[in-house]
């Protein structure tokens, strides 16, 4: 059993938003339009936070942090969001009743509500990801449909899943290779090595959520979020 995790090197991130666009295209994340956006209803599973100061501008790409002890799943009254055995915090849209308790519980604002049916089925959509209806919460899923596909491919070829078979869209798109994805339990993997790095830290570590998205940074300022 794997434990999927991600390492994002903030020193490499240029804030180019390639990961954001890759995520939107991969997961059929809708553009809500200017009117809805003005009301703060933008949906962006991968979101690049920006901090501008006199010295420099800093970026922090924030997918769902896939907490190992997620607060959002504990408040879901219908078991629509849960942590699966491989550590992915999933959201089952067909089951979600749209109560938004999970959004309130998430300390990282990684969950988004569909106030309207923002996107119609049509050409240009990724057929592997369902289009969310109105009134459900959605979130980054570590592109777990890619995991299913990778498993099927490996099975068809009669072999086990190997490192690199399953990578998220954001990690694949990053031009500076700031995002590394893989199995945290696989000791030899790049992601496990980087997660043990002295530069590594996690967002809101004091909350005890134990995110599986690690950040790498040398700047002291990043250690407190």
């Amino acid at each position: 059993m794997a434990l999927w995790g991600m390492v994002i090197d903030l020193d490499r991130c240029t804030g180019c938003q390639a990961c954001v666009m890759a995520c939107k295209a991969e997961n059929n994340v809708p553009a809500v339009g200017p009117k809805e956006a003005a009301r703060g209803r933008i949906i962006s599973w991968m979101h690049v936070l920006r901090e501008e100061s006199e010295e420099r501008t800093r970026f922090l790409p924030r997918p769902c942090l896939q907490c190992d002890d997620p607060p959002c799943t504990k408040v879901c009254p219908v078991y629509a969001t849960y942590r699966n055995p491989e550590g992915i915090v999933a959201q089952i849209h067909a089951r979600c009743i749209g109560c938004r308790f999970c959004m309130a519980a998430c300390p990282y604002n990684a969950k988004y509500f569909n106030w309207l049916r923002y996107q119609k089925e049509g050409p240009g959509q990724n057929p592997d990801v369902s289009v969310r209806p109105k009134g459900v919460v959605e979130k980054c899923t570590f592109c777990h449909h890619r995991l299913q596909k990778a498993r099927e491919r490996a099975r068809a070829e009669g072999r086990d899943l190997v490192a690199g078979d399953y990578v998220t869209a954001c990690a694949e798109a990053c031009p500076t290779r700031a995002i590394t994805f893989g199995d945290l339990l696989d000791e030899g993997s790049e992601v496990a090595r980087l997660a043990r790095s002295p530069r590594a830290f996690r967002l809101g570590e004091e909350l005890g959520t134990r995110p599986k998205v690690f950040y790498l940074a040398e700047m002291e300022g990043h250690r407190r979020v």
Partner: protein, 189 residues
Amino acid sequence: MLGAVLLAILLSLALSTWSRQPAAAKVAEQPISFPHNVHVQQYKLDCKYCHTEARRSEYAGLPSVTRCMGCHKITAADRPEIQKLAAYAQRGEPIPWVRIYKMPEFTYFPHKAHVRADIKCQDCHGKVEEMTTVSATTGPQLANDLLHVAGMRPGAPPLSMGWCLACHREQNRTKKDMKAPLDCVACHH
């Protein structure tokens, strides 16, 4: 009086919207009346001879008109239904078959995984080899739900999630090194 009318309206509404239709389909009028029973029983064709995609794709797929004509250029070429087929072939048009089995959009069902796991087509699609017209049965839903209300536990109706899961659990229990997933995200993404 008003109460009774209101109750009647509500009741009829409730009954008319009862069928949850996960993948419900009725017997459909097809452009060509295609007898599965003749092809399977008389000519012993394997399902995957025509539905070739099943073993390597998410979808089982339908044969192309050319594939049909592979046999029917000669076989039974004088029958009226086959002449319809020949006309499609001549015009170079696909046959507008009416879809019978529909999975909800939020459900991922790959045929290939099931074919690879040696699940028979008939386990889900019923005895297609005896059918003249394929129809998906969704089972007695109202009766099922009433039994549930009465505290009995009938089996889940076909093509519902409970039905899928019942089979997955059964497979895991009875077959060695079978790993039919029970994780929600295996099918819902």
